[in-house]
Protein backbone atom coordinates (compact mmCIF):
# COMPACT_ATOMS: atom_id res chain seq x y z
CA UNK A 1 0.00 0.00 0.00
CA UNK A 2 2.84 2.46 -0.57
CA UNK A 3 1.46 3.73 -3.86
CA UNK A 4 -0.46 6.95 -3.70
CA UNK A 5 -4.24 6.82 -3.97
CA UNK A 6 -6.61 9.72 -4.31
CA UNK A 7 -10.29 10.49 -3.98
CA UNK A 8 -11.70 13.29 -6.10
CA UNK A 9 -14.00 15.68 -4.28
CA UNK A 10 -16.70 16.88 -6.65
CA UNK A 11 -19.93 16.41 -4.78
CA UNK A 12 -21.00 16.36 -1.18
CA UNK A 13 -21.21 12.58 -1.07
CA UNK A 14 -17.46 12.35 -1.87
CA UNK A 15 -16.76 13.66 1.65
CA UNK A 16 -18.18 10.41 3.04
CA UNK A 17 -16.31 8.35 0.42
CA UNK A 18 -12.98 10.00 1.30
CA UNK A 19 -13.30 9.50 5.04
CA UNK A 20 -14.40 5.88 4.63
CA UNK A 21 -11.42 5.10 2.40
CA UNK A 22 -9.11 6.90 4.85
CA UNK A 23 -10.47 4.91 7.75
CA UNK A 24 -9.91 1.64 5.85
CA UNK A 25 -6.32 2.63 5.14
CA UNK A 26 -5.75 3.62 8.76
CA UNK A 27 -7.10 0.27 9.89
CA UNK A 28 -4.88 -1.61 7.44
CA UNK A 29 -1.84 0.22 8.77
CA UNK A 30 -2.64 -0.86 12.31
CA UNK A 31 -4.08 2.32 13.84
CA UNK A 32 -6.33 1.74 16.88
CA UNK A 33 -10.03 2.63 16.84
CA UNK A 34 -9.60 6.06 18.41
CA UNK A 35 -6.89 7.07 15.94
CA UNK A 36 -9.00 5.66 13.08
CA UNK A 37 -11.80 7.99 14.20
CA UNK A 38 -9.36 10.92 14.47
CA UNK A 39 -8.04 10.29 10.94
CA UNK A 40 -11.54 9.87 9.47
CA UNK A 41 -12.66 13.09 11.16
CA UNK A 42 -9.63 15.03 9.89
CA UNK A 43 -10.32 13.81 6.33
CA UNK A 44 -13.97 14.79 6.65
CA UNK A 45 -12.98 18.34 7.66
CA UNK A 46 -10.47 18.74 4.82
CA UNK A 47 -12.79 17.24 2.20
CA UNK A 48 -15.68 19.46 3.29
CA UNK A 49 -13.48 22.54 3.12
CA UNK A 50 -12.54 21.63 -0.46
CA UNK A 51 -16.20 21.10 -1.36
CA UNK A 52 -17.34 24.33 0.34
CA UNK A 53 -14.57 26.77 -0.50
CA UNK A 54 -12.86 25.45 -3.62
CA UNK A 55 -15.68 23.49 -5.26
CA UNK A 56 -13.48 20.60 -6.36
CA UNK A 57 -10.16 19.08 -5.45
CA UNK A 58 -8.72 15.83 -4.20
CA UNK A 59 -7.65 13.99 -1.09
CA UNK A 60 -4.67 11.68 -1.45
CA UNK A 61 -3.25 9.10 0.92
CA UNK A 62 0.33 8.03 1.27
CA UNK A 63 2.01 5.57 3.59
CA UNK A 64 4.99 7.08 5.38
CA UNK A 65 7.76 5.20 7.10
CA UNK A 66 10.85 5.84 9.15
CA UNK A 67 13.12 3.32 10.88
CA UNK A 68 10.71 2.41 13.63
CA UNK A 69 7.28 3.67 12.63
CA UNK A 70 4.66 3.61 9.97
CA UNK A 71 2.15 6.32 9.41
CA UNK A 72 -0.41 7.83 7.09
CA UNK A 73 -0.11 11.13 5.31
CA UNK A 74 -3.19 12.89 3.96
CA UNK A 75 -2.78 15.45 1.22
CA UNK A 76 -5.74 17.75 0.48
CA UNK A 77 -5.24 19.73 -2.69
CA UNK A 78 -7.43 22.18 -4.56
CA UNK A 79 -7.16 24.98 -7.08
CA UNK A 80 -9.71 27.18 -5.37
CA UNK A 81 -9.42 30.75 -4.10
CA UNK A 82 -6.62 29.98 -1.65
CA UNK A 83 -6.27 31.36 1.85
CA UNK A 84 -5.10 34.92 2.36
CA UNK A 85 -4.26 34.84 6.04
CA UNK A 86 -3.25 31.40 7.28
CA UNK A 87 -2.84 32.36 10.93
CA UNK A 88 -6.42 33.67 10.92
CA UNK A 89 -7.99 30.45 9.57
CA UNK A 90 -6.04 28.47 12.18
CA UNK A 91 -7.84 30.29 14.99
CA UNK A 92 -10.59 28.35 16.74
CA UNK A 93 -13.95 29.80 15.80
CA UNK A 94 -12.91 31.64 12.62
CA UNK A 95 -15.34 30.81 9.80
CA UNK A 96 -16.46 32.58 6.64
CA UNK A 97 -19.40 30.21 6.17
CA UNK A 98 -21.25 30.31 9.49
CA UNK A 99 -19.58 27.06 10.56
CA UNK A 100 -18.09 26.41 13.99
CA UNK A 101 -14.64 27.30 12.65
CA UNK A 102 -13.40 24.13 14.30
CA UNK A 103 -12.20 22.37 11.14
CA UNK A 104 -8.61 23.42 10.51
CA UNK A 105 -7.48 23.99 14.12
CA UNK A 106 -9.24 20.70 14.88
CA UNK A 107 -7.34 18.79 12.17
CA UNK A 108 -4.09 20.14 13.59
CA UNK A 109 -4.96 18.71 17.02
CA UNK A 110 -6.29 15.41 15.65
CA UNK A 111 -3.09 14.68 13.72
CA UNK A 112 0.65 14.65 14.60
CA UNK A 113 1.91 16.93 11.86
CA UNK A 114 0.15 19.67 9.89
CA UNK A 115 1.26 21.96 7.09
CA UNK A 116 -0.58 24.43 4.82
CA UNK A 117 0.72 25.90 1.62
CA UNK A 118 -1.69 28.32 0.01
CA UNK A 119 -1.37 31.03 -2.58
CA UNK A 120 -4.20 33.50 -2.79
CA UNK A 121 -5.92 32.99 -6.13
CA UNK A 122 -4.15 29.73 -6.91
CA UNK A 123 -5.23 27.12 -4.44
CA UNK A 124 -4.44 25.31 -1.23
CA UNK A 125 -2.45 22.24 -0.31
CA UNK A 126 -2.66 20.81 3.18
CA UNK A 127 -0.44 17.94 4.30
CA UNK A 128 -1.12 16.25 7.56
CA UNK A 129 0.09 12.97 8.97
CA UNK A 130 -0.14 10.66 11.91
CA UNK A 131 2.14 7.84 13.14
CA UNK A 132 0.94 4.46 14.32
CA UNK A 133 1.61 4.23 18.05
Amino acid sequence: MDFKSCVHIRQEWDIVGARQLGRDKAKELGFGTVDQARIATAISELARNIYLYAGTGKICFETIEDLEHKGLEIIAKDEGPGIRDISQVMEDGYSTSGGLGAGLPGVKRLMDHFDIISTHGEGTEIRTSKWVR
Partner: protein, 118 residues
Protein backbone atom coordinates in the same frame (compact mmCIF):
# COMPACT_ATOMS: atom_id res chain seq x y z
CA UNK B 1 -31.67 8.75 2.60
CA UNK B 2 -33.99 9.48 5.53
CA UNK B 3 -33.57 8.63 9.17
CA UNK B 4 -36.65 6.98 10.72
CA UNK B 5 -38.24 8.75 13.68
CA UNK B 6 -40.33 6.58 16.01
CA UNK B 7 -43.01 7.86 18.34
CA UNK B 8 -43.53 6.34 21.78
CA UNK B 9 -46.11 8.04 24.01
CA UNK B 10 -44.89 11.62 24.33
CA UNK B 11 -41.42 10.82 23.08
CA UNK B 12 -39.69 10.61 19.75
CA UNK B 13 -36.92 8.03 19.42
CA UNK B 14 -34.23 8.11 16.78
CA UNK B 15 -31.37 5.71 16.31
CA UNK B 16 -28.83 6.86 13.77
CA UNK B 17 -27.47 3.77 12.04
CA UNK B 18 -25.66 5.21 9.03
CA UNK B 19 -22.58 7.25 8.24
CA UNK B 20 -24.25 10.68 8.08
CA UNK B 21 -23.60 12.80 5.03
CA UNK B 22 -24.40 16.52 5.20
CA UNK B 23 -27.61 16.33 3.20
CA UNK B 24 -29.02 13.52 5.31
CA UNK B 25 -28.12 15.43 8.48
CA UNK B 26 -29.96 18.55 7.29
CA UNK B 27 -32.95 16.50 6.17
CA UNK B 28 -33.05 14.84 9.58
CA UNK B 29 -33.05 18.25 11.27
CA UNK B 30 -36.09 19.32 9.23
CA UNK B 31 -37.92 16.02 9.66
CA UNK B 32 -37.44 16.04 13.42
CA UNK B 33 -38.66 19.60 13.90
CA UNK B 34 -41.78 18.99 11.82
CA UNK B 35 -42.44 15.73 13.65
CA UNK B 36 -42.17 17.53 17.01
CA UNK B 37 -44.60 20.12 15.73
CA UNK B 38 -47.13 17.59 14.43
CA UNK B 39 -46.95 15.10 17.28
CA UNK B 40 -46.64 17.51 20.19
CA UNK B 41 -43.83 15.34 21.58
CA UNK B 42 -42.21 16.74 24.71
CA UNK B 43 -39.05 14.67 24.68
CA UNK B 44 -36.62 13.31 22.10
CA UNK B 45 -33.85 10.73 22.40
CA UNK B 46 -31.25 10.59 19.64
CA UNK B 47 -29.17 7.44 19.98
CA UNK B 48 -25.68 7.66 18.48
CA UNK B 49 -24.40 4.19 19.45
CA UNK B 50 -23.69 3.23 15.82
CA UNK B 51 -22.20 6.56 14.80
CA UNK B 52 -18.46 6.22 14.22
CA UNK B 53 -17.66 9.80 13.31
CA UNK B 54 -18.95 13.23 14.29
CA UNK B 55 -17.13 16.04 12.54
CA UNK B 56 -17.62 19.79 13.02
CA UNK B 57 -20.54 19.96 10.59
CA UNK B 58 -22.50 17.10 12.12
CA UNK B 59 -21.72 18.43 15.61
CA UNK B 60 -23.17 21.78 14.58
CA UNK B 61 -26.30 20.16 13.17
CA UNK B 62 -26.81 18.11 16.35
CA UNK B 63 -26.22 21.13 18.60
CA UNK B 64 -28.66 23.17 16.51
CA UNK B 65 -31.28 20.40 16.67
CA UNK B 66 -31.10 20.47 20.46
CA UNK B 67 -31.47 24.27 20.61
CA UNK B 68 -34.29 24.38 18.05
CA UNK B 69 -36.24 21.55 19.68
CA UNK B 70 -35.82 23.27 23.02
CA UNK B 71 -37.34 26.44 21.56
CA UNK B 72 -40.30 24.39 20.42
CA UNK B 73 -40.74 22.89 23.86
CA UNK B 74 -39.21 19.45 23.43
CA UNK B 75 -36.15 18.34 25.40
CA UNK B 76 -33.51 16.37 23.52
CA UNK B 77 -31.07 13.88 25.00
CA UNK B 78 -28.17 12.46 22.99
CA UNK B 79 -27.22 8.92 23.97
CA UNK B 80 -24.58 6.31 23.27
CA UNK B 81 -21.74 8.55 22.07
CA UNK B 82 -18.77 6.18 21.46
CA UNK B 83 -15.51 6.79 23.37
CA UNK B 84 -13.58 7.41 20.13
CA UNK B 85 -16.18 9.95 19.02
CA UNK B 86 -16.08 11.73 22.39
CA UNK B 87 -12.29 12.01 22.10
CA UNK B 88 -12.32 13.41 18.56
CA UNK B 89 -14.96 15.96 19.57
CA UNK B 90 -12.66 17.26 22.29
CA UNK B 91 -9.76 17.48 19.79
CA UNK B 92 -12.04 19.50 17.55
CA UNK B 93 -12.69 21.83 20.49
CA UNK B 94 -16.38 20.94 20.56
CA UNK B 95 -17.71 20.44 24.07
CA UNK B 96 -21.49 20.21 23.58
CA UNK B 97 -21.73 21.64 27.10
CA UNK B 98 -25.39 22.57 27.12
CA UNK B 99 -26.47 19.34 25.50
CA UNK B 100 -27.99 16.69 27.78
CA UNK B 101 -26.40 13.28 27.23
CA UNK B 102 -26.82 9.80 28.66
CA UNK B 103 -25.02 6.47 28.36
CA UNK B 104 -27.73 4.59 26.50
CA UNK B 105 -31.32 4.80 25.32
CA UNK B 106 -32.75 3.55 28.59
CA UNK B 107 -30.78 6.10 30.63
CA UNK B 108 -31.82 8.72 28.11
CA UNK B 109 -35.49 8.06 28.73
CA UNK B 110 -34.92 8.19 32.49
CA UNK B 111 -33.11 11.50 32.11
CA UNK B 112 -35.97 12.95 30.05
CA UNK B 113 -38.49 11.93 32.66
CA UNK B 114 -36.40 13.53 35.41
CA UNK B 115 -35.93 16.74 33.45
CA UNK B 116 -39.65 17.04 32.88
CA UNK B 117 -40.43 16.61 36.53
CA UNK B 118 -38.37 19.62 37.56
Amino acid sequence: MRIPILKLHNYLLISIQIDLDDQTAIQFQEDLLSKIHKSGATGVVIDLTSVEIIDSFIAKVLGDVVTMSDLMGARVVLTGIQPAVAMTLIDLGIHLQDVPTALNLEQGLIKLRQEMED
